[in-house]
């Protein structure tokens, strides 16, 4: 976990906003992509970056792929540090007293 700069691009803000809606909820890449409307080409590098700086944690779905007949999903959720950083990041975009992540 290094201290890298996270560039607050549009997709980054969309992702953080989604994750802040239910911070404890684990979401798969497909779910995030669908809900935040971010394409795979942008989403996965972003998830990797946020995971490397310690804003997100990821873990495998607890299933046996052979029994389920499909590959395991990987779930992402905010860390405590990520939660604070994401709120700070989005606070800059707060409009008329409503936090950006509630809009």
């Amino acid at each position: 976990m290094g201290e890298f700069e996270i560039r607050l691009t549009g997709p980054t803000l969309k992702l953080l906003k989604l994750m802040l809606e239910e911070p404890a909820k684990k979401r798969s890449g497909a779910e995030i992509s669908r809900e935040a409307k971010i394409g795979s080409g942008t989403l996965y590098p972003l998830l990797v970056r946020l995971e490397r700086v310690g804003w997100l944690l990821s873990e495998w779905e607890q299933i046996d792929p052979k029994e389920a007949g499909r590959p395991r999903k990987r779930f992402y959720r905010l860390t405590a540090n990520g939660y604070n950083k994401a709120r700070e990041a989005l606070a800059a975009f707060q409009m008329e007293g409503t936090p950006a992540w509630n809009m």
């Binding site: 798969s28 890449g29 497909a30 992509s33 394409g39 795979s40 080409g41 942008t42 989403l43 996965y44 590098p45 990797v48 970056r49 490397r52 779905e61 792929p65 499909r70 590959p71 395991r72 999903k73 990987r74």
Partner: protein
């Protein structure tokens, strides 16, 4: 003649579209496998499984193709994220590729427009249509020439 050209492109276009639609899931899977090869070895197993799981959740063939294309570009960004030099190289390659693509597409459009205005190409296209429909106009042409001469 424009009707014939339109018909030709319509038939060929729909055939190609139908083929692509049928093959899309396989193509998408191959693209994901190819994207995985662009990643550092330590990351390959993880993303292969993750992206294939995502692929399984994509609705429709075009959705699967779109996801796999995303994986291809995402893999480059992930592997470049390790170092700034690699990132700059990747962005330069991406820019060069984008310029090359734009150049290629411009040439295709210009060439298509030129082709559309050159009567010689009508004959070639007409020949293709004849081949596709199994039509043989040689005898007809010969009989017309006979008719005109006699």
């Amino acid at each position: 003649m424009e009707y014939v050209i339109g018909l030709f492109f319509g038939i060929v276009g729909s055939l190609v579209a139908a083929e692509v639609y049928c093959w899309a899931p396989n193509i998408a899977r191959r693209c994901v496998e190819r994207a995985v090869l662009r990643l550092p070895e330590s990351e390959r197993d993880r993303f292969r499984e993750e992206w294939l799981a995502h692929l399984g959740e994509c609705p429709g063939s075009l959705g699967k193709l779109w996801h796999s294309m995303g994986c291809l570009s995402g893999a480059r960004a992930i592997s470049a994220a390790g170092s700034k030099i690699a990132l700059v190289r990747a962005s330069n390659t991406e820019r060069a590729r984008s310029i090359a693509w734009k150049g290629f597409l411009t040439k295709v459009i210009v060439y298509s427009l030129e082709m559309y205005t050159k009567p010689a190409w009508y004959a070639v296209l007409f020949g293709f249509v004849c081949i596709i429909f199994g039509m043989d106009h040689t005898n007809q042409l010969v009989s017309w020439i006979d008719y005109v001469l006699n």
